[in-house]
Homo-oligomer: 349 residues x 2
């Protein structure tokens, strides 16, 4: 029953993949990961073999390494680490896909995967560089867009604060806030990132969280308080932001990278009753969201951010490491803020 | 320049009023209040003399007794305690008002006040009992209505939890939730209030917070978790509610009576990082609001709740004490949950 565009691989496909060997205690360590070389089965009808070109590494993956309830299932012990890729179809047993087609899929940390064709999203390499589909035009960009539009809703003259401001979410949050006429204040780690945020991305102000007096600097950079705090880090940044929140401030909560390795008490931080008192007296909105809950924004996102990227008005930076073997080290470094821009692993070309 | 409907009082009006003598440390004490007997000035043009018929006592007043920033200014030391009243115009120097007219105003804890006519809202005694303008058809009812409609948004089959369920806010929250097809679970203090909430107000379940195992009982009463928690008390109730919140739960925050006398650490309660992790992973919405921020709901409220009160479908209970001299004691008792229904002071008839 082979159709002209279905091609079983002539030779079995060998894949190298990375599985969760142990659940990390605190910061992930190299031996929490294990490499496996496997021979993939031939694709069944409706399936394709996808070769990973770029693997996206994102903070949320740290949460998937833990047991316990969260918004998505944990990676099982021995299971392939979860992750989105841009890949190339190298064999297809589905009439909609031909070898050479490019697609997005949650293939995981692997060089190749057999995937149900229904789980692929087609990528047009003419529309934008394919790497952007994992960054500014992918999940991180969409996260920035929906969090700002559905929750943050910055108005002209308001102040929007975001941390990890040189990263794929924060960089777009600040640029979109400025497009809305708001002041964008970024927080980033180190002089190089701060210079990029201010000079390349055009934020109005930037704070280096490596400085010891971040809270004081943030207050100075936000003389009119904070109207939108796009929460993607938690920790000390939250403590610095909290007293500066204005009446009717909105806090979209999309990530808490500071706590992903475990929550530690921070002396001097507000208690829950103090937080709730501020929620009441300042009429704050705190709202958690996951990008895929807000798919109704997809078309507007593709239109608005796509146009901005094509025209060069919206800037982004990629941090690319080469080879699947580098994924664990790159991921561990990202959790410490060592990446500069959207972190990708180039697995093949 | 007297007009036919302006009448200067023939004799000066004597007023008895209650001022803030000291800022309470923790629970208010009798000597935090002081009675004053004063002779009021004659009303200037555009002013009236309003005689208080009913004075509303509400938990928010505890906050006004403190210094420091909140959503409204503190009562100054020596100032008349703030409060809304239904009163009767006894002298008018404004063409829009005649003696005998009934009005709502923030006259404070006083038998009489000279008030700018612009600050009066007319009360029609034919439309509903005038006492309801301070309860189910007044600020507490409006608070329930806007918090539920603008933030809680209960859907059929969802579970809505509210504390102080026999009080003027909680009782309407539960009844409106049931009108929306949701399950209403109330928390109240003592067997008598609980019986009223279940049998008279028609809540699906009620928990007595005087019981030691409130958290376990609440979990049993919410087998499908909690979708809307209307937060008006804080404290131990919040600790019992928090682990039961479902994904996408909404928490309108309108009051924190448990903490009004001061925040004390509660062992075992979630930290802010744990709260924020839940906000993220469950996509919770926490939003503070003050009823007067949401005036756009006024007409819908008057229509919906007015109809419910007139038809008897929406029930309410008043707790009326007689005489302005009783106000401090009644207020202190309310903060301990000793009132049963909307607490009013009948100052004159």
């Amino acid at each position: 029953m082979a159709t002209p565009n279905s091609a079983s691989p002539q030779t079995p496909v060998e894949a190298r993949r990375i599985v969760l060997a142990k659940r990390p205690q605190g910061e992930p360590q190299p031996d929490d990961f294990r490499f496996e070389d496997v021979t993939l089965p031939a694709p069944a009808p409706g399936e394709v073999v996808l070769q990973t070109l770029y693997l996206s590494l994102d903070p949320y993956m740290r949460g998937r390494m833990n047991e316990g309830p969260s918004y998505a299932a944990a990676v099982p012990l021995g299971g392939v680490m979860t992750g989105e890729v841009v890949g190339r179809v190298v064999a297809s047993n589905d009439p909609q896909w031909r070898p050479g087609d490019l697609a997005l899929a949650f293939a995981g940390w692997t060089t190749h995967a057999v995937i149900n064709a229904k789980e692929l999203r087609r990528v047009d390499p003419q529309a934008a560089p394919i790497e952007t589909r994992l960054g500014v035009l992918g999940m991180p960009g969409f996260t920035a867009y929906v969090g700002l539009h559905d929750i943050g809703k910055p108005k002209a003259g308001e102040t929007v604060v975001v941390a990890a401001a040189s990263g794929p979410v924060g960089s777009l949050v600040g640029q979109l806030a400025r497009q809305a006429g708001a002041r964008a204040v970024g927080i980033a780690g180190g002089a190089r990132k701060c210079a990029y945020v201010k000079e390349e991305l055009g934020f109005d102000a930037v704070i280096d969280h490596h400085q010891t007096d971040m809270a004081r600097q943030l207050a100075a950079a936000c003389p009119d308080g904070i109207d939108v705090y796009f929460e993607n880090v938690g920790g000390e940044v939250w403590n610095a932001v909290f007293p500066l929140l204005n009446a009717f401030a909105r806090v979209p909560v999309c990530g808490l990278i500071a706590d992903y390795n475990g929550i530690t008490a921070r002396p001097g931080e507000a208690s829950v009753p103090e937080l709730m008192r501020a929620v009441l007296s300042k009429r704050l909105t705190l709202r958690g969201f996951i990008n895929y809950d807000l798919e109704s924004y997809r078309d507007a996102f593709e239109r608005d951010v796509g146009a901005g990227v094509r025209s060069g008005k919206l800037r982004y930076t990629l941090d690319i490491v080469d080879g699947i073997d580098q994924a664990p080290q790159a991921f561990m470094g990202m959790l410490k803020g060592r990446n500069f821009g959207k972190l990708l692993v180039r697995v093949a070309q």
